[in-house]
């Protein structure tokens, strides 16, 4: 009896492993690149331009077709190097005089990977500005916010700098912080024009910003709008007006500006858990935000004051809808993925539609029943019935696993 129960446990483990290995073999053999579609917005025609819908040409939302050269002339800010090479860079765009320097100063891009599974250390350096040195300097210590409060760990001697820690702790206590920090965000580093220090969310979900300037702590509590709790703070190192993007638990995205304003972005479809990429870009005329998930991209165009001007969503091919993907749905009841380089190390199982895989599962259960009868086994035995149920539920994974572990006499 014990051996039979152990057998079922081992079958379940093997089903799990097979759900990783077999779909992986299948994908390696049959997965082909699918067409990806992406969006841009023309500063000249004020239309969205779509890549990838038709071979060799680009389309706009009115259905007009453009060659690559025409497209580059339609988006002079993002195609500036190419236009300069061909001596086609315009003197004015939409009636506004432009120079390459002006365009370069205003172009920016920041891609936020929304799956937070990457590496994280609960400490980070905090640079020191306003000293007798030009720019910012490292102080050979790392900031952390643990149960004891804010601490600066001196890497050279392996001790906490109590004097400096007390200075910051005092300042933060006045602001009402409640250690430990749930997470520290930001990257305080030399080599940037502006240092926004580090952000942390304390145990009461309050957001604080910590900087070190002229031998004094420069801390502030950032009041959050709409009673939100933050899911993430993404610091913005390159944009002259933006300090960070704040992702709330209400699926709202807020911009924290250098003049301490918090502006909510009008992103109607954004869902932090569903979308994978949050791509912020901008130029002399517009701010643009593209949110992307598998098979779908939506581009929002804002004016310089973050007022929504236009938006457009486009669907692209996904593996699940390709021939190999459709067949996969019939073959495997679920697929387990174990690893993604970008997203860190994870295990996730994704089920297929029941109406697809059940047919093969039933056929395999029939085959198993035939094999068992042919061997003269008593198929009314509860363990044989469990075997059949496992094949119905787990399909090809269950079938292989049940055969690997025969019921012992």
């Amino acid at each position: 009896m014990t051996a039979k129960v152990v057998r079922i446990i081992m079958i379940l483990l093997t089903v799990f492993i097979a759900s990783i290995v077999l779909p992986d073999f299948y994908k390696t053999s049959f997965k082909r690149n699918v067409k990806y579609v992406s969006l841009n917005y023309s500063e000249v025609t004020k239309q969205f331009v779509i890549w990838g819908l038709k071979d060799g040409v680009l389309l706009d939302t009115l259905g007009n077709e453009y060659s690559r050269q025409e497209y580059e002339r339609m988006v002079p800010f993002s195609s500036m190097p190419q236009l300069l090479k061909r001596n086609e860079f315009p003197d004015t765009v939409a009636g506004v005089p432009v120079t390459p320097q002006l365009v370069a100063e205003n172009n920016y891009r920041h891609i936020v990977n929304l799956t937070e599974r990457g590496r994280y250390y609960a400490m980070s350096p905090l640079v020191h500005g306003g000293t007798d040195r030009v720019g910012y300097i490292y102080t050979n210590d790392m900031m952390r916010v643990n149960r004891n409060g804010i601490e600066f760990y001196n890497c050279e001697d392996g001790r906490v700098d109590k004097e400096k820690s007390a200075l910051f702790d005092q300042e933060l206590r006045k602001l009402g912080y409640c250690p430990p920090a749930k997470k520290i965000y930001g990257r305080s580093a030399t080599g940037y024009k502006r240092d926004d220090g580090l952000f942390f969310i304390d145990s009461k979900d309050q957001l604080f910003q910590v900087r070190y300037h002229a031998y004094k702590p420069d801390c502030r509590k950032i009041e959050l709008p709409d009673q939100i709790k933050l899911r993430r703070v993404e610091w913005e190192p390159d944009h002259p007006e933006v300090v960070a993007y704040l992702f709330g638990d209400n699926n709202g995205v807020y911009i924290l500006t250098v003049d301490n304003q918090i502006i909510k972005l009008d992103l109607d479809e954004f869902n932090y858990d569903q979308f994978k990429v949050f791509d912020v870009m901008g130029n002399l005329f517009y701010h643009m935000i593209s949110i992307q998930k598998d098979g779908y991209e939506k581009l929002y165009v804002f004016d310089r004051n973050y007022k929504l001007l236009d938006k457009y969503g486009v669907h692209s091919d996904v593996y699940e809808e390709s021939a190999a993907g459709v067949v996969e749905g019939f073959l495997f009841p679920f697929v387990t993925s174990t690893y993604s380089y970008i997203n860190g190390y994870y295990i996730s199982s994704e089920g297929q539609p029941f109406v697809k895989f059940i047919w093969l599962n039933l056929v395999l259960a029939g085959v198993l029943l035939y094999i068992k009868r042919r061997k003269g086994l008593n198929v009314k035995n509860p363990f044989h019935i469990i075997d059949l149920f496992m094949v119905v539920a787990f399909g090809v994974f269950g079938f292989i696993s049940v055969l690997i572990y025969p019921i012992r006499k």
């Binding site: 014990t2 051996a3 152990v6 057998r7 446990i9 081992m10 483990l13 093997t14 799990f16 492993i17 990783i20 290995v21 599974r117 990457g118 590496r119 994280y120 250390y121 609960a122 400490m123 980070s124 350096p125 490292y138 050979n140 210590d141 790392m142 952390r144 760990y153 890497c155 050279e156 392996g158 990257r187 174990t338 690893y339 380089y341 860190g344 190390y345 994870y346 295990i347 690997i404 572990y405 012992r408 006499k409």
Partner: protein
């Protein structure tokens, strides 16, 4: 009786455990000689910065120890079970005045404890040295990175016990294949401190095979082929 069984297992496994722990310790010493050299050349702060923000493969000093837990698991497993099944010596153990399940699990417990002891020697030294060079946060990050590798060694040990007790060569091969793909799942991460989300799932995957010995040994005891 159980202590006698432990002694019997000790006689079989002591040299393998000793040498594999020695190899592990040698790797730990090499790693921290390298760390010490880097700290002296770059300074502690700069070295820690390169570990935190540098290119993963170039800066993860602990990656050299990745397969040591697997090596420990395999060496202890093979030294313990291969002599038993080669000459069917296990039959003598199964004829002792002791329930077979208890006898088998005594063997398995012994192997597991020896594995943990070897881990303790090698990784205890590693973390002792790590704490002397790095802050607690880094040690915690290294520990979370290493957890899948440590669990992988445990899974490999349990699967070897299961395969060794299987009397049929064909099924041995099939179970070895299952073991390969099971253990492979523990060694696929490259990033530092990015494994924290999956440690519970991997722990279940590592400890479930500890029951598998009962399945194959049952067949062995019945004399099936």
């Amino acid at each position: 009786m159980i202590l006698h069984l432990f002694y019997k297992e000790w006689l079989k496994t002591r040299w393998a455990a000793f040498f594999v722990s020695l190899v592990g310790l040698a790797i730990v010493v090499y790693i921290f000689l390298d760390v010490d050299n880097n700290v002296r050349m770059k300074g502690s702060f700069n070295y820690l910065m390169s570990v935190f923000y540098g290119i993963p493969q170039a800066n993860y000093y602990n990656s050299l120890i990745k397969y040591v837990p697997l090596l420990i698991g395999i060496c202890i497993g093979l030294s313990q079970y291969v002599p038993e099944v080669l000459d069917k010596r296990i039959k003598l153990t199964l004829h002792l005045p002791l329930r077979n399940t208890i006898a088998l699990y005594t063997m398995l417990c012994y192997g597991f404890l020896l594995l943990i002891l070897s881990y303790g020697v090698v990784f205890g030294t590693f973390f002792y040295l790590n704490n002397s060079y790095f802050p607690f946060e880094e040690s915690l990050a290294v520990l979370t990175s290493m957890m899948p590798w440590l669990l992988g060694g445990i899974a490999a040990y349990f699967m070897i016990a299961m395969i060794a007790m299987e009397p049929n060569l064909f099924y041995q091969f099939i179970y070895a294949l299952v073991a390969y793909y099971l253990v492979k799942q523990f060694y696929i991460g490259v990033e530092h401190a990015d494994t924290r989300h999956i440690i519970p799932a991997l722990a279940i995957m590592a400890f479930v095979p500890c029951t598998a010995l009962l399945y194959t040994s049952y067949r062995f005891m019945k004399g099936e082929r």
